[in-house]
């Protein structure tokens, strides 16, 4: 997917990282604020356990199940066709950096929202959300930089195999998160 994004050969890494990270931080900070206005920590922790175990098991096992929550929307090509490179990068960064706008193939993204809702107070929620947004945006941009430097030579089957490996790892991480959330409920529930 990112291999198709034409950002030019002389992409300045810092500019690209900033174009993805800045919108991600802003959007996630707002999400962290809104998610912690109401006292929903106990419910969010319970949902984190259920979500982590369900998607962790189906992603690790490779069995079919409910699709990962998210949107199927993709950036229309006319938004980026025939636009200057800097403008294209800003559009991609604003839409892909935060991660909410486009498709999420792995269930881990939904867990991030639940963890932010589990913070329990606004200050911690905003700090946690900001950090998660920054990490997501930077990682998204890093993947794009990787793909823009190495011309994509992977075929479809290779892409599917890589995706399956990421899915399994994502599932294992979800299970670990479910375990940690369970203990949080036991101690503080």
């Amino acid at each position: 997917m990112a291999a198709d994004l034409s950002v030019g050969r002389k992409t300045r890494p810092l500019g690209l990282l900033a174009a993805y990270a800045a919108p991600a931080v802003a959007v996630w900070a707002l999400a962290g604020l809104l998610a912690n206005l109401a006292p929903i920590q106990p419910a969010a922790l319970g949902l984190t356990v259920a979500y982590g175990i369900y998607y962790g098991l189906i992603e690790t096992s490779g069995r079919p199940g409910l699709p990962a929550p998210g949107r199927t929307w993709q950036v229309p090509s006319q938004w980026v066709d025939n636009t200057p490179r800097w403008q294209r990068i800003l559009i991609w960064g604003a839409l892909l950096g935060p991660g909410f706008a486009t498709r999420n193939p792995y269930a881990g993204f939904g867990l991030l929202v639940l963890v932010v809702c589990s913070a329990g107070n606004i200050r911690l929620g905003v700090a946690l959300a900001t950090t998660l947004g920054l990490l997501h945006g930077l990682a998204r941009a890093a993947a794009l930089l990787r793909d823009s430097r190495h011309v994509a030579a992977t075929d479809y089957l290779d892409l599917v195999a890589r995706s399956m490996r990421w899915r399994t790892i994502d599932g294992l991480t979800l299970l670990a998160a479910a375990g940690a959330a369970t203990i949080t409920i036991v101690f503080h529930g």
Partner: protein, 60 residues
């Protein structure tokens, strides 16, 4: 095994069950050691955020 580069010898479902058990146990243990604080959950979420952002490019 195509999933994790496993070659042969141990049945795949057994490997998956073992991995899933280890992951869940790791989360439980780390959470317990952190006295149930949110630190472990937050750290795990940080790892997920990086993985999720970086791996989307591999989605066909």
């Amino acid at each position: 095994m195509a999933i994790l580069g496993w070659r042969e010898g141990i049945p795949l479902p057994l490997v998956k069950v073992a991995l899933a058990t280890c992951a869940l146990s790791a989360g439980l243990t780390a959470g317990w050691l952190a006295s149930g604080g949110l630190a472990v959950l937050a750290a795990t979420a940080g790892v997920v955020a990086v993985m999720n952002g970086y791996s989307k490019a591999y989605s066909p």
